[in-house]
């Protein structure tokens, strides 16, 4: 993209500090928003076609509309920064390299919906991001952007960082709220939805980091402008994290609806030398795996569904011809087994069972009937759990079995895996070079 928005400050020296952020127009959008009324702002957000960027893709403006206007208890903003979906690493960059963009977005959101307190729920491993955010919040308080009577308005808003303790499940919105309340991150039954009963029993808005980071831009240039950088129902520039067997892994900004092929070739530098694309996961490991014949699919929620998978977080993992799909399925099942919170039997037991069956096939002890068994386990998990983590096991596992049936059968017939071990695959780029810079 010619002009960058979500990653504008990534490569600017001291872009994470308040003076640099302000010199690029930062916090002017807050001042503008403070002179707009709530209904107008919500309308702009609706017009922008901004969709939840944590992976679910719910229209942000509609979600905002669910927040009750009146409440006896103070209303809360919780920003989901528990980025943990394998293959996903975009929110981390916003928090580390442009924390004020997120903070300005939080304040505008709070103004719009009358939220009194905000918590940015960051996974505990991201200590660097936590420190950057806390320093930025301190700067914002000192300038009167946070606290009481913000910019002279009848508007109080306090913002804090809450570190998680290491649990993938806290990326699920109600698991996150449990973690905010100091409890084990075991998701709640819905309804009631967080907008009605959320953190501390009060109405609570839950939005992803990248979603909130879009808000200042929508205020500055309008919802229609944001929507114009995208396709139908999917508005605005987006951060795409590209990883796997490609030349230039990294985080890149491109419009919504860019094709997978463009991301791979124009941004990611193509596959590693000598590597042929075998498959890719479009938006985090809980999505169905895709075959190379879908490379022209557009990165939108509807278009990816039509192409046979889902957009998810928009962070793509590319896999080359040396990749064993049985091993991938087993590794992912292991991940979800490790991260299951243990509340629901189908998820807790099914994920462990699937892992054992997949490892057995990979290690040469598989039986032909195991393929039906795997699908049967998936059937019994899907839709039978409190939260979506159960589906996050069954959806990908099913896709590997269905799309690579022959490879599974081959493992069983030859009693072992024909693919090479995982190995170190180097590429020229390093993080500093690859962030947000298309060729």
């Amino acid at each position: 993209m010619e002009e960058l928005f979500l990653s504008r400050n990534f490569k600017i020296e001291n872009g994470h500090t308040l003076p640099v952020y302000e010199s690029g127009g930062g916090y002017q959008r807050l001042k503008k928003a403070l002179n707009m009324d709530s209904a107008t702002i919500i309308d702009e957000v609706k017009k922008s076609n901004l969709r939840g960027r944590g992976g679910a893709g719910f229209p942000t403006g509609v979600k905002w509309g669910f927040m009750p206007k009146e409440s006896e208890l103070p209303k809360y903003l919780t920003v989901n920064a528990d980025e943990g979906e394998p293959g996903t690493f975009k929110d981390r960059y916003i928090m580390e390299l442009d924390p004020h963009l997120l903070i300005e977005g939080c304040i505008i959101t709070a103004w719009t919906l009358g939220l009194r307190y905000g918590y940015i729920y960051v996974r505990g491993e991201l200590q660097f991001a936590i420190r950057r955010l806390e320093a930025a919040i301190k700067e914002a308080y000192a300038k009167g952007y946070l606290g009481q009577k913000i910019q002279g308005k009848d508007f109080d808003f306090d913002l804090y960082v809450h570190p998680s303790g290491g649990a993938y499940i806290c990326g699920e919105e109600t698991g996150m709220i449990e973690g905010l309340e100091g409890k084990p991150g075991q998701p709640r039954m819905k309804p009631p939805f967080p907008a009605v009963v959320g953190a501390f029993n009060a109405p609570t808005l839950v939005n992803n980091v990248e979603t909130i980071a879009a808000i200042p831009w929508i205020i500055e240039r309008g919802g229609e402008w944001w929507a114009s950088m995208g396709i139908e129902k999917n508005g605005g520039p987006k951060l795409y994290g590209l990883s796997g067997h490609i030349k230039k892994p990294g985080v890149y900004e491109a419009p919504s609806g860019v094709s997978v092929r463009e991301l791979l070739e124009d941004y990611g530098g193509g596959m590693l030398d000598g590597s042929d694309l075998k498959g890719y996961i479009p938006g985090g490991s809980s999505c169905r795996v895709m075959l190379p014949d879908t490379l022209d699919a557009l990165m939108g929620f509807e278009s990816m569904r039509e192409a046979g998978s889902s957009l998810g977080t928009g962070c793509i993992t590319f896999m080359d011809h040396t990749t064993c799909m049985v091993r991938i399925a087993g590794r992912l099942a292991h991940f979800y087994h490790h991260e299951s919170c243990g509340q629901c039997t189908p998820c807790r037991e099914g994920s462990g069972w699937a892992t054992k069956v997949l490892d057995q096939i990979e290690n040469g002890n598989g039986r032909m009937e195991d393929l039906d068994l795997l699908l049967d386990i998936c059937d019994n998990i899907e839709g039978n759990t409190i939260c979506a983590l159960g589906d996050s096991i069954s959806i990908p596992v099913r896709s590997y079995v269905e799309l690579f049936t022959q490879e599974f059968e081959d493992h069983i017939r030859r009693k072992g895996c024909p693919f090479p071990a995982w190995s170190l695959r180097s590429s020229a780029s390093t993080r500093a070079e690859a962030v947000a810079g298309a060729e």
């Binding site: 660097f128 290491g166 409890k183």
Partner: protein, 176 residues
């Protein structure tokens, strides 16, 4: 020995508690603070936090044992956590883990007897574009990502750097 926060931690603790409408919500950050101060989260530490936050000890126990970052056993001065989830596995995550095993003379999940190192295999750390990588947590509670470790030289440079830090780090086993 009765536990007590240092003056500095006490101030941080009070500030943490002030961020939330109730004391229980301060538990996750308070556990990190306690781990920094006391080296690891023993039952004694949990009881201390329960008392300070006015919570039943069982609530502290269920939370401390649910999350992976609270060490319920002492770890080494340098806790090396190597990611081996997909994107890292594709770029040498397992080899990095094996390099550490060879270099430190321990298997994943183990600590060196001198209390200097613990090696753990962990799941995705949101560093997929800079694989292979590991996270270091030292016994002062500092965390750091070491990324793009795709050669023996880079690995050696990092290990030597960490070795030079060891003399200045307390042994978590002696911290309470």
């Amino acid at each position: 020995m009765a536990l007590a926060f240092s003056e500095e931690s006490e101030a941080k603790f009070n500030e943490l508690v002030s961020r939330y409408p109730n004391t229980r919500a301060a538990l996750l950050p308070a556990l990190f603070l306690a781990q920094e101060e006391f080296g690891w989260i023993s039952v004694e530490v949990m009881d201390y936090l329960a008392e300070r936050l006015e919570l039943p000890p069982s609530q502290v126990l269920t939370t401390a044992t649910f999350y992976t970052m609270y060490n319920k056993q002492p770890v080494g001065k340098c806790h090396v956590q190597v990611c081996t989830t997909l994107s890292c596995a594709f770029r040498g995550g397992y080899e990095l883990l094996e390099r550490f095993e060879d270099r430190l003379g321990i298997k994943r999940g183990e600590s060196t007897p001198d209390g200097n190192w613990t090696l753990t295999e962990v799941e995705c750390l949101a560093s997929c574009g800079s694989a292979p990588m590991f996270q270091l947590t030292d016994s002062k509670g500092n965390m750091e990502y070491f990324e793009d470790l795709d050669s023996e030289e880079k690995f050696e440079t990092v290990v030597k750097e960490l070795e030079s830090r060891l003399p200045n780090l307390p042994d978590p086993r002696d911290m309470h």
